[in-house]
Symmetry: C2
Subunit: 307 residues, 2 copies
Amino acid sequence: MHTLHHRDRRHLGWDASLAPAVEIAPGSSVELVLQDAFGGQLGPQATPADVAALDLGAANPLTGPVAVAGAEPGDTLAITIDELSVGELAWTAVIPGFGLLADEFPAPHVIVSDVGGQEVAFGGLARLPTRPFLGTIGVAPAEPGSHSVIPPRRVGGNMDCRDVRAGATLLLPVEVAGALLSAGDPHGGQGDGEVCGTAVETTAVVRLTVELRHGTAIDQPQLELAPEPVVERREGPNRRLTMGVGPDLLAGARDATRAMIELLGQHGVDPADAYALCSVAGHLRILEVVDAPNWVVGMEFDLDVLA
Amino acid sequence: MHTLHHRDRRHLGWDASLAPAVEIAPGSSVELVLQDAFGGQLGPQATPADVAALDLGAANPLTGPVAVAGAEPGDTLAITIDELSVGELAWTAVIPGFGLLADEFPAPHVIVSDVGGQEVAFGGLARLPTRPFLGTIGVAPAEPGSHSVIPPRRVGGNMDCRDVRAGATLLLPVEVAGALLSAGDPHGGQGDGEVCGTAVETTAVVRLTVELRHGTAIDQPQLELAPEPVVERREGPNRRLTMGVGPDLLAGARDATRAMIELLGQHGVDPADAYALCSVAGHLRILEVVDAPNWVVGMEFDLDVLA
């Protein structure tokens, strides 16, 4: 099995003209050693000043690309995440100008986590189940040129979908010969939405197995979810749901998030900490999207994670 | 305990000038006997023609209002759903002009379900866990006049939130003296989103206990979720997630739903049936809403429910 190390094969944009680091056959595997989404810029003593000084042009480095022999536009690439082990330190940052409530949280903020085994010690604030996943994994878009790694696309990328975890199979539409698969941005956990803009950001080693599927073309990414149970509470007396009711889903997501930050304030959590907590442990759900003209977005949070 | 029957105290709009059917004190309970959201217009042999002939002006009848002694604007009304038993027959309809993909599903369609104990027999298509909840529960808005029961509001109403179930406590902001609580639209189950516009629509008897909370005013509805486990699979080899990636969450929800309908088609389910299935068993999640300019909406579905 080939191993690619980020030191050797690191890139910062999606680009169909990048030479593949390695070519593998369908049915075979590759191991990737991944940097964190800050490219190693934050250390264990990270401060808000370090966040303010981040070089965002170096954010979200990818390792790859891996060419898949025989992959052609119109094919579907099926990528199974066989194994994913994340680092022992992680960072969650509120970066000025970035995040769902960027206008309300202009100041830099950072929380350093110890990631160990089953649990993430989220600063001194909370204890969360460790749920490793890949924030970014995708293939090259056909459109020429280098494309930012920040927005996700129909060919995947920075989807920040917490179900892209060990045991799952990600399906991506292939747009260029060889597909040109890359990955990065490993997370030790995240809520649906990643509202403050970052998750439990850490390093990882991942083993992927690729297959090609012909015939049923897909328009956007799909997942065959991991069969193993998600380490997730769906019971207990302290789960809360805040809502945002109105004609715009984005405004609803903002309202539900703001309400959860206020609710956490009643439990003694400062607003910036609460915002970061919502990003790693609050889950945005679309509760209804048909009772025109108002839709309902909810944020679910389990207060039992609080330290 | 007072019992209100829909035959006696049925109304079709939110209206602060409605005389309360009964006044109860904080800490006490009321039982409501609720009609289904179609107001009894669909029977066990319901056909698409019956759906086309529905009088939508009579949709979503409410039972109430119940005045809560001492409730004043600025208070929070806490409503605990002590017990909720739903009927044995239910309807899920695709109503022309209504629903997330209304433009793509112009024809009326209906599926009749047997709701028994732990399971909903969804036509001959699927077997779903029975998860009774109230689609509509709210208090009167301060604004004078009669307001449609279809859109939800900051004071609740037709939220179609599947967590408004036995064991949960719903918090609503009070806008008028007495609060004027009403409920209706009981469901035997639903997915997050209710994408086709209807759920497992049935009748119910519900017992509610109300409390008043002063001090921490809320802007929109909140829920203290039921402590009992949700009857919900979070494991198994056949769970799928489709995605919609793009700059608009509503378009993302449409893309994810359309992709799941296509995926169900690969398993032999006709499009209109698949649309209805997504409404009762597909869950819309906001996977990320920060990687500008593209957000990711997912629809989760467990293929194991298919018959």
